[in-house]
Amino acid sequence: MLIDQTHRKWFLGSVVGLALATVVYVPYSLNSPQGPKGSSVLGLIYGSVGFAFMLFAGLLGLRKKFPVWRVGRAQTWMRGHLWLGLVSFPLILFHGGFHFGTQLTRVLMWLFVFVFASGLLGAALQHFIPRIHTAQLPMETIYEQIDRVRGQLAQEATRLVDQCCATLEGEVSGASERQRAVAASAGANWDVTVASGLQADEPTSNELRQFLLTEMLPYLEKAGPRGVRLGTAAQAQAMFRHLRVLLPPNLHSQVDDLENICLEKRQLDKQNRLHRILHGWLLVHIPLSYAVLLLGAWHAVVAIRF
């Protein structure tokens, strides 16, 4: 979400609406016999308009549950949610005359404060974080599928290492497609002699496998960078530098691939974190807003009754 020029209409509308409400409120609050009260006509208007806005904002959740309903573009709803939700807070404050009341209303007000605050925070987060996300995570994937993708990365890494090991252990069939190509291109049609590159190197291959088992796979299979050396970019770089020293140059591209896998994993971890930030506030916002709506409705009933 980007709060930009396209929001101008909403922004102006909200400002105007709010100004209007304030203009009405000031004399009202000054003149009303017992001060501004929810039960006064204006108070009720504020209350009901505010609640209507809240309800509208809350309906976004419902709207999202039925995305295909042709009841207005989700974007419109979102903007409504954002701006009407924003306006609803002062309206409700006006409604209560800046008093939080007792028990039910106080609970309600505090919940609303939390909902409002989390909403503001959320709006800010959703304004800024996507850009960070985009800039820093070129390899992001679908958040829900991170676990699955991680598993696939692990498989890919295993495959790569198997390939390298096969090359190192001199299996012509297994791995030396590239090598054979190198051999073939080294000599012209006539002058090729023997491709002598296939020299077995068991210790290196063992070390590579060890790296896979003790470093790479634990890192790839577990979410988060904690406790794994590959988790930090600098250390990972150092380790791969070491691998490059260890392995013959014809396998360096595989090492690059492995490093790339780690990079992707690192990005996925980061995505995990960012996603939690980006959507974590919803864990507060949504449940509380439901509670607010519920209690608000109850409050309305009770208030109308008594």
Binding site: P33, S253, L283, A291, F306
Partner: protein, 455 residues
């Protein structure tokens, strides 16, 4: 260079196409919370309900007077049978309270709750807002179309007219000659020839503090006592000043001796007839006891100058009594009594004492609590009193003096209560009727079911 290729296909193939059908923990959490938190809220509401209390919906704590039945909303919020709404009707209030009408001429009677706003916490319900009054008084219409006072009042400090007693030309109707100026002079001759200096509260007090009046008669006449104690007990803290009474405030200095033979014996402070009878009785008794005295020539009496020239000798005891009474009365009527009272010699043997006509309440439609103002010097408000030499002077302070402190309220205004109810009563309690209590303590406290009266 890395050989890994990212193509749309490889990327998309990694994704389980139905992933969104299985909620991710994150979404599951959201769902549970979204269900859970409203449920908790609902539970709370229901819990409150189950507890029986409806306090939770209370828009605020009740005033002290009603706090007892906080849990019993139904006491006031009486729903009509079958109706949803349970607004507080006047009837509910009238169950316990009588609310005499304000003014027979008023065109509109507001609902109780419109002035007595409940759920505002421990406030006095009587402390209604000015706005309640201004509903009418801002632009007063009466049934007869004749507002008696100002027709448009905005508040105590806004368009409130000057106290009517202070209207020009108005004088104190009191007939007791009192010179405040003289009384406040230093070095006055006090009782028993002592010198005294008087202060206001030697005579003006709001309540009987139990303290004795400094100038009260040592031997009071019962009649005088009776009067004062009635005055003292009737009106609570907002009682007006105790009206000055001879026995309490004057008698110590203004002694009523009538004859030297009786020392300092005094005549009762009563009607001339009573005094006359007293004198006859006194002298009669004296002559009876001192028959010799009939013939004693009276030394000239400085105090009665008219009489000094002709000493009269009684012929007999009764004559003596007659003379002596005459003399004493002469002294009393022309000097002692006349000092304060206005005596009319209308032809009868005895003068007629004019009614004292002391005004007990200067502001009949308002209350003023001197006690509340005790911190101030009397003259701070009654500024004219020290220089008042004339009984006719009305020494009630101007409203402007009040308004110096009593203004529109607010924390920044640093003012004393300025709302109407501070001085004015809405209900005309003089017309109050008795109400009948119906509730038991458990009913009120909410521990027992409320039996609603059938309408």
């Amino acid at each position: 260079m890395s050989q890994r290729t990212r193509t749309t296909k490889t990327l998309a193939k990694r994704i389980d196409l139905q992933y969104f059908a299985r909620p991710h923990p994150f979404r599951r959490w959201r769902l549970w919370l979204s269900v859970g938190v409203p449920l908790i809220a609902l539970g709370w509401v229901v819990g409150q309900r189950a507890e029986g209390g409806q306090k939770a919906y209370s828009s605020g704590p009740l005033a002290h007077s009603h706090a007892v039945f906080t849990q019993q909303c139904g006491l006031c919020h009486v729903a009509r049978t079958g109706a949803f709404f349970a607004h507080v009707s006047d009837q509910a209030c009238l169950t316990c309270h009588d609310a005499p009408v304000h003014q027979p001429e008023q065109t509109f009677t507001p609902q109780c709750s419109s002035c007595h706003v409940e759920h505002q916490g421990a406030i006095r319900l009587a402390a209604t807002s000015d706005a309640s009054c201004m509903q009418c008084h801002a632009n007063l219409r009466t049934r007869d179309g004749q507002p008696h006072y100002a027709a448009s009042i905005g508040g105590f400090d806004r368009q409130h007219p000057e106290f009517s007693v202070l209207a020009p030309g108005r004088t104190d109707p009191g007939r007791i000659k009192l010179n405040h100026y003289v009384h406040l002079q230093p070095n006055l001759m006090g009782p028993n020839n002592t010198r005294v200096e008087m202060s206001c509260d030697d005579c003006h007090r709001a309540t009987g503090s139990g303290e004795t009046w400094p100038y009260a008669s040592t031997e009071l006449h019962s009649a005088a006592l009776k009067l004062t104690s009635q005055d003292l007990n009737q009106r609570g803290s907002k009682a007006p000043m105790v009206p000055p009474a001879f026995a309490w405030h004057c008698a110590a200095c203004h002694t009523l001796q009538f004859d030297n033979r009786f020392g300092n014996a005094q005549v009762p402070h009563d009607k001339p007839e009573v005094v006359h009878a007293f004198l006859i009785k006194q002298f009669g008794e004296y002559i009876a006891a001192h028959p010799a005295a009939v013939h004693e020539v009276e030394a000239s009496n400085r105090e009665l100058p008219e009489r000094a020239r002709i000493p009269r000798v009684a012929r007999n005891a009764s004559e003596w009594v007659e003379f002596r009474v005459e003399d004493a009365e002469h002294l009393l009527w022309l000097k002692t009594c006349k000092q304060c009272h206005t005596l009319n010699f209308t032809g009868g043997p005895l003068p007629e004492v004019a009614k004292s006509s002391i005004t007990a309440r200067w502001l009949p439609h308002a209350e003023f609590d001197h006690q509340a103002h005790r911190a101030m010097a009397c003259t701070a408000c009654h500024t004219r009193a020290p220089n008042s030499r004339d009984t006719a002077d009305i020494l009630v302070p101007s409203i402007q003096i009040c308004q110096q402190c009593h203004r529109e309220q607010g924390p920044m205004k640093e003012s004393a209560e300025g709302r109407c109810f501070e001085c004015h009563q809405y209900h005309d309690w003089s017309k109050a009727k008795r109400t009948k209590g119906r509730f038991s303590i458990p009913e009120l406290r909410g521990t027992a079911r409320l039996r609603m009266p059938k309408n």
